[in-house]
Assembly symmetry: C2
Homo-oligomer: 318 residues x 2
């Protein structure tokens, strides 16, 4: 069994909790390192095993990620899988000096967004994927490399995105050696049929690559889109605790799809998550006390899981 | 073309706005008749054509529905389809004295809930369906009759619900002459695969009966369940403006699936709704000013529809 299939077993659903990365991207006040440690400990106690925890950036660029190395060490001590962003060569070089389990890099689906957001072409971004893969595979810890394709379902600058372009970019990233390809609905434009269509197209082209999906709930479609992605065969889904993570392109919008609600979705669809919803609630307390200005979303935390029915998946794989 | 296929054309999606009925079920303070009229006028201007507007009950039982006759008259003047609950013989007799377009009656999926909620057996409730159909078809205005099967996806008292029982009840209601069978996730337990399964079972048994679905967003699955229902062939979906309508069985829970978000879902799935989201927003202002204590839900009202893409369905039928 490769490291890849240990981290992302093909017969199981994996929920990645990205609150400590994408959830903190826009916040004014961010949790202390100790609070992040407690957040991770409580989620890990609840059964969460996959986290995206920060970004390798100069500390003055985004102070909320200045402690990324410590957080990765904490993940290692908790024996959970850690992932972190590295958006340039320097970041990737820094990442491989740590025990991070997965390096996440980003390629925009559109040239317009690539230039505006990262000041480079998509071609340059894909070349960086290749260099990151080389660095990672040549390093002592051999972290996985995921490429998130941002704006894959519509772009805040270019508008409609041709799914064939996304398939082409995904194929080039896979050729460059990416272990995981992530399809990101960065600004929450997608509908479920579009999700199903794109996932199927990418799977048809790429075969057995590990595909993940990253959804924002900006227009309330997050859970529906996750359901469609599961129907199409996706087994790796990002979410953030309490739906943290506003979007700079959509003021007032919610952030990522709510992690807690994804658990209910998966279990009701027959995919065991291994996560205890009740225990997970205690992690929200950390977010609430550390970031009192952030709205915490989520239907399950509000209503609770039904006690009258057995809503858990009946098998452990699906 | 029958009245039924004029009201619910089989090749179109119909969204029923039930805010003035289910949305007011639990509120402390309710809109004045004039405000309800304005609510209907604004929604009608936005293209909404189907409303559930109250219940035929003694005025002292639920004062928020005391003006149901006036509201039905207003619907008639606006040339929109009105529906109202009638939960006993007296209510049905009252209903057929008005120009209401559709009488909605309810049968519980479980004997336990039927006894606890309506103090009658399911058999008695189905007998009432038959009498209501007789009254309706013998009346001057011949309103349609819909039977909502409450707790169809799980019961707050009995727990799990056998889908075969729901199919059996649906068949008996159709035999009793119901024009529309509604499947209601009254307490928000359902997941999308369960919705798809039950809709397909009922369709297989009942053939060409008009099926509708009534979803509560208590556990965040509302839009995902609506998407699954559409995939399974449902073309009539209930929602309430701003997701109004708390559930007595789930304190703190949200109410019905958000009407505004359903519009985005349908359009993104290729089903034209004929509803202008921007104009619909002005109806929320009525709800906000008349019921200042109610939380108004909805992602589309918060984030707005995307301006960068054409998110409308490309055809007018689907």
């Amino acid at each position: 069994m490769t490291g890849l299939s240990r981290v992302y077993p093909p017969d199981r659903v994996v929920l990645r909790e990205v609150g400590l990365r994408d959830g903190l991207q826009m916040v004014q006040r961010h949790p202390s390192t100790a609070a992040k440690a407690e957040w991770l400990r409580r989620e890990s106690d609840a059964g969460v095993r996959h986290f995206e925890v920060g970004s390798f950036l100069p500390a003055n660029a985004m102070p909320q990620f200045a402690d990324v190395r410590e957080i990765i060490d904490i993940c290692q001590n908790l024996n959970v899988h850690s992932a972190a962003l590295a958006l340039n060569d320097r970041g990737a070089a820094d990442a491989v000096q740590t025990p991070v389990g997965e390096i996440v890099t980003v390629v925009s689906a559109t040239e317009e967004h690539s230039q505006a957001n990262a000041r480079r072409s998509r071609k340059e971004a894909i070349a960086l994927v290749g260099r990151t893969v080389e660095l990672a595979s040549g390093s002592e810890t051999s972290p996985l490399v995921q490429v998130g394709i941002s704006m894959a379902f519509g772009c805040s600058i270019a508008g409609e995105v041709d799914p064939n372009e996304v398939v082409r970019i995904a194929a080039e990233c896979a050729d460059a050696g990416a272990d995981v390809i992530g399809l990101a609905d960065t600004v929450g434009f997608a509908g479920p049929d579009q999700v199903k269509d794109l996932v199927e197209r990418v799977q048809n082209e790429l075969g057995d690559v590990v595909l993940s999906i990253h959804l924002h709930d900006t227009r309330g479609m997050g859970v529906a889109n996750a359901s469609a992605a599961l129907d199409a065969g996706i087994r790796v889904i990002d979410g953030s605790l309490a739906g943290l993570g506003g979007c700079p392109f959509a003021p007032g919008a919610t952030g990522n799809v709510v992690f807690e609600d994804l658990i209910y979705l998966c279990e009701r669809k027959g995919f065991a998550t291994g996560i205890d919803l009740e225990r997970l609630m205690s992690a929200r307390e950390v977010a609430a006390s550390e970031m009192p200005d952030e709205h915490l979303f989520g239907a399950l935390p509000r209503a609770g899981a039904p006690r009258q029915i057995n809503w858990h998946a009946q098998q452990t794989t699906g």
